[in-house]
Symmetry: C2
Subunit: 100 residues, 2 copies
């Protein structure tokens, strides 16, 4: 079975206004500003990464009500922005506010 499952936390940034697709589906795009400590080959390293996120449907409407600078955890799958693009985008399928 093919797997493509990312759990990613960060602060909401670059939040764009809620839009609608031509088919009338709510669409929200933003970035998650992420920083974490990761262990690799026995060494701890700091990872800083801004990842574009796209939300479609019900989850777009929920996230549109969340304030900028809110820390959240988003789950979803990765795609390229377009077929030829080098930009990787997280498509949100679930989310929650991150506990402090």
């Amino acid at each position: 079975m093919s797997r493509n499952e990312l759990t990613f936390s960060g602060v909401i940034a670059q939040l764009e206004p809620l839009r609608y697709t031509p088919a009338g589906i709510p669409l929200l795009s933003f970035e998650l500003e992420h920083q974490s400590q990761q262990i690799e080959a026995g060494e701890t390293r700091t990872v800083s990464l801004n990842l574009p996120v796209l939300a479609l449907g019900e989850i777009a409407m929920q996230l549109a009500d969340v304030s900028r600078d809110q820390a959240v955890v988003v789950r979803g799958f990765l795609t390229r922005r377009t077929v030829k693009s080098s930009v990787v985008v997280l498509h949100a399928t679930a989310w929650k506010k991150e506990l402090e």
Copy 2:
């Protein structure tokens, strides 16, 4: 707690020879050719995505023995290739052969 956890399956491609960092740590880089069906806003969509993977240490030596075209599932965390790069890389921390 910060989360950055990707589970990603695909076929090993662009497998480079095992190298060593200046500190003597084994380093392997390759790409995973991924295709899956994902459900978003109630619709099924096909996702095709080649993702660069980097393995350091013990896991690099294990994966260097796996043949090209082998289907695997890799777990790890995402970083950018360099601070300014738009290329997102999966750092492998665990892997297994994918069951057919």
